[in-house]
Symmetry: C2
Subunit: 190 residues, 2 copies
């Protein structure tokens, strides 16, 4: 099994918190799709799920992917299409989980990420080892807006330790995805 | 000296290559400013230089920073202003270098980054050690568009080894900044 091929990322647009800790659905961002798809391709991931229940957003994602994979974007910059073809759209986290599970015929290990520490969090070295050693799929969930809800975190098998900062941890979700994938799969001492 | 305080990042909009390897000036992107400023703040950097010779772009950066640090954006989301206050705008790489040098009264060590390997490249562990041990400023240069020019790379003191991917290395510059800062300064394997 190629390193990384059993790892999936899920970008959750619902349910997430807004700044008042109310549960909302956020809008899909073009930059998120490109940046995270390029990370997913670079690290050889199994796939990148964009999770949104809103039909308008599902169609937006499909239009963007089509443009770069088969449409005018491909002539302009063919390197962008390849990573975008890793994108799958799901209405819910569970729908994404089921699709991964069907592909592997194995239970999916869900790992929530976020900026807050948790007593039951797993560290990067430990999670990296699990991903490398276990022949089952791992699904890393990232929340947009002000993050994943408490319910989603509690339903996960693991909560990944947050990226520590110098008294500040408001990294964009794009930066967090890049850093976390590199910590888990990158050749960091090169 | 606080870890990271002697490290600066420079986002170069000119001179950089376009896809035909012609030298161009690219436009400043709002997402770049926010994402990279938040990375710079998280890792405790000395500053984040946005390098562009175009007056319209200089004014755009100043407007964006003002909005989030003092304007309407501050009421909406005060966490965005703090990192943006790390931003400095310079017309050229040399102008940025002189400003850093004046602040430290030390020669600036310039490190070019990019996607292509180079025989004289420095690795992450080695550069991380230099940054930690030497009481002088380090200036990491990132190219937009299709990357820094050969002349800029040759004028640098070091060229940082590229981030290795699975036969694909077209990470966005935002992702590259996040990954590289984490490799050099992050609290690894927590």
């Amino acid at each position: 099994m190629e390193t990384g091929a059993n790892l999936y990322i899920g970008l959750v647009h619902y349910p997430v918190y807004d700044k008042r800790r109310e549960i909302v659905a956020t809008a899909v961002t073009n930059f998120d799709l490109h940046d995270m798809a390029r990370c997913a391709r670079t690290y050889g991931l199994g796939g990148f799920f964009v999770i949104t229940p809103l039909e308008s957003q599902v169609k937006l994602v499909e239009r963007i992917v089509h443009h770069w994979v088969e449409g005018g974007g491909f002539s302009y910059n063919p390197t962008r299409g390849e990573p975008l073809s890793l994108i799958r759209v799901s209405r819910t986290i569970e729908e994404a989980e089921e699709e991964i599970c069907r592909g592997w015929n194995e239970k999916v290990v869900k790992v929530a990420t976020g900026a807050s520490p948790s007593p039951k969090s797993i560290g990067y070295a430990a999670l990296g080892r699990l991903i490398e050693e276990e022949r089952r799929p791992f699904f890393l969930l990232f929340g947009t807006g002000w993050g994943l809800t408490q319910a989603v975190k509690e339903s996960a098998d693991h909560i990944l330790a947050p990226i520590e900062g110098k008294g500040y941890n408001h990294l964009s979700v794009r930066s967090a995805v890049a850093i976390i994938l590199d910590r888990l799969l990158g050749n960091r001492m090169s």
